[in-house]
Amino acid sequence: MDIFIYGIVNGMTFALMAVGFSFVYGISRLPNFAHGALYVVTGFIAWTFINSAGLPYWLSIILSLIIVSLAGVAIYQFVMIRVRGMPISEIIVSFAIALAILEGLRLQGIGGFKGFIGPGYVLPRFIDGVVDTPWVTIDLQRLLIIAVGLLIMGFMWLFTHYHKMGLGLRAMAQHERAALMLGINSDRMANIALGIGSALAGLAAIAIMPLGNINCESGYSVLTNAIAVCVIGGLGSWGGTILAALTLGLATTIMSAIGGTMWNNVLVFGLIIFILIVRPSGLFGQQKKLEERV
């Protein structure tokens, strides 16, 4: 029974990781490889604020989120804006940025920047303490993840479907030039999209990282999980994203209980390829049907 509970929690962590990426790629069609990198960067910045600068917990979190979303905006404004039209270059550029950040953080004490290797660096938990439900004991941090996850999902759904900004993003994603004709400044939209997307990645880091330590490998796995959730759930559909995250969460929990965590990656991978072949536009996506029609 507790596998089921842990599966749900794991599912929500996947959802949290994926929401930022899904918002940027799913809604605005901007490939953001650097999602995983920003996730890890938030961890480091928050850690430095708390430990080196000794700032209170709240302040350091807010500061690191602001810095990360500014980094996201900077990525678009100075880099992605110049490769908008060309799909091949877009992928390569965002892939290069992600690698630069992740590998850069692995450095050992170069210049003033102390590399963070080794297990010693852990983000403090948001809430300590444990609550034992009739079936299994869960620490509050995991419950927090579920709450934050659902909160963000709800906010994102409202934002994309009803707020004017959400409409602008959907327009820019489907046909940038047509959006320009209607007075939607696509560059400003993309800046906002990346800013929010990066902040979401940061938020995911703040909530999930305390469970483990801050390391670079999580950058790659967050990216793969986020893409897996987006692929399986279907682009741009929030219902699909949540469902995909939960299924993935359950599957990986069961997998690690049986086969061992090593095979998790293989499982996530197998699912991506399997879903893409069976239903190329994901469970809820419409792209395939539309492609047929046009």
Partner: protein, 254 residues
């Protein structure tokens, strides 16, 4: 038609729905060998869906399509083209980065073209230039060497036709070959279709321009909201009241 010719394409009650929209509803008809059949109907009546269904780009929900008692439904598009059922696209699809005559190398490289090539298979460029002349490129000689992206729409439509001819098809399906062309361009396209017919190819023409279509078509079927509402000789179909109301709106233009 003296003796009853064998129908080359048999379409048996196919229907297809897209996201709640009934694009095609139980449509059946036969294309007799060597005949030109017109498919007319207002926008959204399912004409392009019909073409996509026959050529395998879209799978029908129900019903079957036969090409000389070979079942086409379920086959991928390249297999259907390999059997000899070639199509042009409503929105032209040239290879913009290639030169005009190089565009024809792709179909000439296909397994079907190679089977028919025989002795002359080796030099595909020469075959490509001949094909371009066949569809009326010969008037200005340097056009085949220009990039496909600079060609006007009239030439691109002819290139689509040439792409089908490269496969030496037995059935050609033209999806609105005349739409978007100027009067003079249409006038020069009609003889092309006519000599295709003389060469014995059976043609299905999906079209809006009735005047030009009726000069070429032996038989016409009319689709409206996915259903076949009329079939027969062009003049006969035109008199049918339903056709007039559904197609030409209030004033009768013809």
């Amino acid at each position: 038609m003296e003796e009853e010719k064998e129908p080359i394409i048999k379409v048996r009650n196919i229907s297809k729905t897209f996201g709640g929209v009934k694009a095609l509803n139980n449509v059946s008809f036969d294309l007799i060998e060597g005949e030109v059949m017109g498919v007319i109907g207002p926008n959204g009546s399912g004409k392009t869906t019909l073409v996509n269904l026959i050529t395998g780009f879209v799978k029908p929900d129900s019903g079957e399509v036969f090409f000389r008692d070979v079942k086409l439904t379920g086959l991928p598009p390249y297999k259907i083209a390999d059997l000899g059922v070639a199509r042009t696209f409503q929105i032209v699809r040239p290879y913009l980065s290639l030169k005009t005559y190089k565009n024809l190398i792709v179909p000439l490289w296909s397994p079907r073209a190679r089977r028919f090539a025989g002795s002359r298979g080796g030099d595909r460029d020469a075959v490509a230039i001949d094909l371009l002349e066949e569809v009326g490129f010969e008037r200005d000689a340097y056009v085949p060497y220009k990039l496909a992206s600079v060609l006007p729409l009239g030439y691109l439509k002819r290139l689509e036709l040439a792409r089908c001819l490269a496969l030496r098809p037995e059935v050609i399906i033209c999806d609105e070959v005349f739409s978007g062309l100027s009067m003079s361009e249409i006038a020069s396209m009609v003889p092309l279709v006519e000599n295709l017919r003389i060469k014995g190819a059976s043609i299905i023409m999906v079209e809006h321009r009735l005047r030009e279509l009726f000069r070429v078509a032996d038989k016409v079927i009319m689709l409206d909201f996915g259903e076949k509402i009329a079939e027969g000789e062009p003049e006969e179909v035109m008199q049918d009241p339903r056709v007039k109301r559904a197609y030409l709106g209030e004033e009768i233009e013809l």
